[in-house]
Symmetry: C2
Amino acid sequence: MRKLFIIFFAFFSCTVSFAQSEDSIMIRRIADEILLHSKAYDNLHDLTKNIGGRLSGSPGFYNAEQWGLKALQQSGADKAWLQECKIPHWVRGGKDEATANIASQKKNLDVIALGNSVGTGPKGISANVVEVRSFEELETKRDSIKGKIIFYNYKFNPTFVNVFQAYGDAVRYRGAGASQAAKYGGLAVIVRSMSESTDNNPHTGSLQYDTTLPKIPAVAIGLKDADLLDSVLRHKSVNVLLKTNGHFLPDTIGHNVIGELTGTEFPGEYITIGGHLDSWDPAEGAHDDGAGIVHTIEVLRAFKALGFKPKHTIRFVLFANEENGLRGGIKYAEEAKTKNEKHVFALESDAGGFSPRGYSFGGSAEQLEKLQSWIPLLIWYGVYQIAGGGGGADVSPLRANLKTPVAELAPDTQRYFDYHHTRNDVFENVNKRELELGAVNVAALIYLVDKYGL
Amino acid sequence: MRKLFIIFFAFFSCTVSFAQSEDSIMIRRIADEILLHSKAYDNLHDLTKNIGGRLSGSPGFYNAEQWGLKALQQSGADKAWLQECKIPHWVRGGKDEATANIASQKKNLDVIALGNSVGTGPKGISANVVEVRSFEELETKRDSIKGKIIFYNYKFNPTFVNVFQAYGDAVRYRGAGASQAAKYGGLAVIVRSMSESTDNNPHTGSLQYDTTLPKIPAVAIGLKDADLLDSVLRHKSVNVLLKTNGHFLPDTIGHNVIGELTGTEFPGEYITIGGHLDSWDPAEGAHDDGAGIVHTIEVLRAFKALGFKPKHTIRFVLFANEENGLRGGIKYAEEAKTKNEKHVFALESDAGGFSPRGYSFGGSAEQLEKLQSWIPLLIWYGVYQIAGGGGGADVSPLRANLKTPVAELAPDTQRYFDYHHTRNDVFENVNKRELELGAVNVAALIYLVDKYGL
């Protein structure tokens, strides 16, 4: 296109008049500060390229703790510290391999062991594959599962416009597929990756074993190889040799990294903003959740740069161990409860560094309505919907234990599952401006909640 | 993130109740058809990879005409034809080069000649560079312009959330910079690329000469090299040798490619949907405007697949020559006027294959209000704002000549100027689902306008 420009105005017939209010001016100042001077993109480059993957217990995670502490200090936190918690320590233990034997031809399949999975042992597991498209089909085939590798080929439903709904629909096969197959004597499982991307990158992510059943190894498979396996299995049997090495080491020590801006009026009342510092190991954790980490640090930097002094104490939290345990989020809420802290609001960014569209919220209907009344102040920056029934994983223990209202930034979802838990969740797949607009919106909402409460 | 799913609902306090209406059901059917069976992504692959760049008058453009005609026929058009128009025929004529001489070191700068620019001649133009940051600064330096190469280093303003506003603000330097410099005896111009991307790819695009002034060559420069040039010029003089070969051949013949679904009630009243078939030459024109082309074809395919029979005749138009002449759009409107056709509405997709957010509209306040009343039907699919003061370039002559209300799909703008008119406007930078959601929304709006008029 060559033509000039378009100005968007939101013409809601019932728009509340916030025009030129003190709040709209302050939010414009926040946006200008971040869009002109943000360090979010540079911080993300540093975190992803100089530290990289940072699964709980890995050297990368400990490097990230120190990096995060320094970043919060340098961004102007009044205080910053490490909050100790026990974390699980799962290791991949080597390269994951799957070789299919199809009509005497060997074909390597692109797989990755699921997090928390046991390994196959060095000799691997070799067995014929039984494909099922659902747990219901597993039941109908229960007598033919024993001694086999079970291939769960349940697809994302493309008609869910919000791709997180497709994930919510399909992820039970990653979470529970192994134990369901073990119940009928399956030896291992191959799960179609949680994605509808056009590439073949397999997506890891955690599984949960039913501890009353044998633990069997599980891998995710790339979508192209899943479709290949499916097409071959329609006509002939396929033997697969799986080799994985995942195992747990003893629980170890990790830390939430916390920075604070002390409140001027209510220093003993807390507003939390955070993301999670750990990431899966195939790549750099750029969207998941490097984006949330640098959003959190950027809000602090911008508040300090603007000389903004919050009424409540604002906590900037880089949570430990979201991916395979949530121990950081649980610890944070436990300590808050023990100390009888009052937590006014907690906001997480853990849905990627994409263009913001809204928030999900967990709290009362009245609180939701109050948040929604601010949409006219936020819509210029991309936020037009705030929905109930949500909130971020790391802040969910605050909701459960202290009834804190919680929310999560909800950016555009279309590309998230192209990158989530794969080898291409890298810095290069994050757009600088989309990332910065996330920080703008998070800062704006924190400003409003601090000013007006919830 | 590992957690399950979030459901977004739009909670507008004044939401019109369209729930479960006939329209919401039909739009859901359209969305399901496209999200499940779209050919948009495959068509885009075919157009970009098998035809590629398709500047007016180039072999690629004529290949694209035949490709488009076949695609419209195969997608079920009742009629499809080529509408002849005269088109300009500018050719790049070879590789564009710029070599800076900085303290006796030679440094190649990443440049691309602007469209419509004259060339430097085979020996090139060698001169010292004068940097200006605005036309105002050009005026203050008017006495030192003669015999120099003028470097317009006007940056995109990052505080415009909608990046098209930054483009609208900066593009005058690309459009008019050459003639403004020629007025004071400048020999050539280097224009900072119309972008705020993080890479160094230069962005072409058309310039317009003031025919009362000498025509001097113009190139765009990548942002990193622009910043380098700026930093060096603060301390020392820089000589640049520019070599470009652009020139016009005589006007030639091109065609709008048109398909039609004949209306059941008002066959002589037209609704147009289109994009432009031509593209700049450095790459494949994937977002600009392959996306709009495959949106257009996809709407036809989906309507046929659903057995939808429009009341009005719907024209699916692949316009010729948007980029450096708009001759296709002008011809289309001229013929409509000559034949005294009644055009009810015209909609363009020419802002890339990104996640939809709204429409820009050109028409009356009452028409805008009617369109906005449909937002509750569209918001689930991403459209939440419809703004006045817009409409697509190719449909603007319909507005000017026939007072047709016009609109343009307005996807998220953050990434558009990373790709626009550069070597990386390629298929790989288009996300399948984002592209498909554009088609969903365009089809939904056409359905509503066909049913209710405007």
